[in-house]
Amino acid sequence: MIFQGKSWKFGDDISTDHIAPGRLFHLRSNLPELAKHVLEDAREDFAPNVKDGDFVVGGNNFGLGSSREHAPTIIKLAGVNAVLAKSFARIFFRNCVNIGLAPVICDTDQIDEGDELQVDLGSGVIKDITKGIELTFSPLPEVMTKILSDGGLVEHIKKNQGFNL
């Protein structure tokens, strides 16, 4: 899978409260509506302007906090195919895989706001087209790649009528 789009930069410790805040708890069963507020507590300009194919680029410990899967889900609903960060919180990382949003661990210090990126999940290469540089990342463990390539855990279970990992 190869994705191309623009980078939106975020800092360290972006929590699920930044992504899908508790004050909007009542919108959780209305994900398209909740998606209009995605990451708004970190950057107000993101939700109204993000384009299909853009990337969320964070720092350390991206997605820490609550287990709310609504957080990665609304990032995906906003049109984002992959989140790049120096490191991820565990539950968020797992949720990304399960819902089919690619989590990529790489040195995001090299990427700036607005850079045009091409991310190749299979080969583990990120091309920063704006800067003319390449970054590499380790592909996901096999079990996660399987789930991700089936389109997420729901599709994996449907296809196999159970786990086939």
Binding site: D13, S15, D17, H18, P21, G22, R23, F25, H26, L27, R28, S29, N30, D41, N60, N61, L64, G65, S66, S67, R68, E69, H70, P72, T73, S87, F88, A89, R90, I91, R94, N95, N98, I99, P141, E142, V143, I147, G152, L153, V154, I157, K158, G162, F163, L165
Partner: protein
């Protein structure tokens, strides 16, 4: 080579001996979801085409985050959860019954079991010697339908705890100290295991406070070996027969070991907006910090012993006129006992607002959202920006003792003189 606690428990739930780093599909024993994550789990179950629960007697849907419901959308979510329960026979823990992590330990979880929960603080159950971890709605939906989950067996960090707590210092201060020391991502993907002479003597309520906050260091679980104290806890809740010993082998392989002497600790706080941003109460940064709202409750520190500490300090006093106090017992049992012991009368006379058992103000849904620029000292486990309903609020975290002292003085305060 021996096994860690987490390797032992996961091995017993698969058909092979596992070691850290292995990926497995394991059987689960107990499953929970709450009113924020449950509705999405049910949708995923429907999408997969399932309509039954694999282990209904040990699957529990909690109406605790918005209890009672403050909005019609959430009332509709509650209806969906209740209706799924009627259809499949899973349990509902309804409004007023309490916070999921407290109730699951009181009524459902036993040592050696695997609990998966659609809530990050599911790690609380590690205090009972169970492998207990938080996941998302899809994972838990799959768990409800199939009674199974996929896992990567984590490496373990051992925390060897020694020494006696000084007066005014508690398990909460210890766990805030640990998170301050290793950082909010210091144990990411790792199992944390708490052991040593101090843990062996530690009451269950304090063990739960430690395990509860494992996730705030990035941990997958916060395990404590089961022992006599675990047995007594189970017996008190009518499950004495479910006791089994779960402990690591003496030659288990740990990725790292940390030695901590608690006699050196002081009352510890987290400053806004991250849990690892810690100070001790004697730090100059604490001096004169005015607090608008004090909140005692949650799955971290809303248990009977916590309420007893606070009540002892507040008895016969009045709240600071500029500071409000919210008290939310973690479960109906705790509420009942606090009522019987007269603790709620003490809080009421002090000028507190006492809320329904549940999450209350913790997650910014209702019952205590902050105003612009307001400060809150809470006994909860996280202080992220926006957590209590307002990105312009400032949340500090502490033990119930620091919280009670602060409610008296209206500014961050050392509990010592009130103990």
């Amino acid at each position: 080579m021996g096994q860690t606690m987490v390797e032992k428990i996961i091995s017993a739930h698969t058909d092979k001996e596992v070691k850290a780093g292995d990926f497995v599909v394991a059987d689960v024993d107990v499953i929970l979801a709450q009113d924020g994550t449950g509705p999405l789990a049910l949708k995923q179950i429907e999408k997969m085409g399932f309509d039954k629960a694999a282990i209904p007697a040990k699957t529990v849907l909690f109406l605790d985050h918005a209890a009672p419901s403050p909005k019609k959308e959430l009332s509709n979510d509650h209806m969906a959860l209740r209706s799924f329960a009627r259809k499949t026979g899973v349990n509902v823990s309804d409004i007023g019954d309490g916070v999921c992590h407290q109730v699951i330990c009181e009524k459902f979880l036993n040592p050696g079991e695997i609990l998966i929960g659609a809530d990050s603080h599911t790690c609380t159950g590690g205090a009972l010697g169970a492998f207990s971890t938080g996941m998302g709605s899809t994972d838990v939906g799959v768990g409800i339908a199939l009674g199974k989950t996929w896992l990567r067996v984590p490496e373990t960090f051992l925390f060897n705890i020694t020494g006696e707590f000084s007066k005014g210092v508690y398990a909460k201060d210890l766990i805030l100290h640990i998170i301050g020391m290793i950082g909010a991502d210091g144990a990411t993907y790792k199992a944390m295991e708490f052991a040593g002479p101090t843990i062996e003597k530690m009451p269950m309520t304090d063990r739960m406070t430690l395990s509860n906050m494992a996730v705030e260091a990035g941990g997958k679980c916060g395990l404590i070996a089961s022992d006599e104290i675990t047995r007594e806890f189970l017996a008190k809740h009518g499950r004495g027969d479910k006791f089994v010993v779960v402990q690591a082998d003496a030659d288990a392989l740990y990725e790292k070991t940390f030695d901590i002497d608690v006699s050196k600790l002081k009352p510890t706080l987290s400053f806004p907006h991250t849990v690892d941003n810690v100070r001790t109460i004697d730090s100059p940064d604490c001096a004169g910090v005015k607090i608008d709202q004090v909140f005692i409750g949650t799955c971290t520190n809303g248990r009977l012993e916590d309420l007893r500490i606070a009540a002892r300090m507040l008895k016969g006093k009045k709240r600071h006129p500029d500071t409000r106090l919210i008290v939310t017992p973690a479960s109906r049992d705790i509420y009942g006992q606090a009522l019987a012991e007269g603790l709620l009368t003490i809080f009421n006379d002090f000028g507190a607002s006492i809320n329904t058992p549940g999450c209350g103000a913790c997650v910014g849904v209702h019952q205590g959202a902050l105003g612009d620029g307001e400060t809150c000292l809470a006994t909860q486990n996280r202080n992220f920006q926006g957590r209590m309903g307002n990105t312009k609020g400032f949340i500090y975290l502490s033990s119930p003792a620091v919280a009670a002292a602060t409610a008296i003085e209206g500014k961050l305060a050392d509990p010592l003189k009130y103990l």
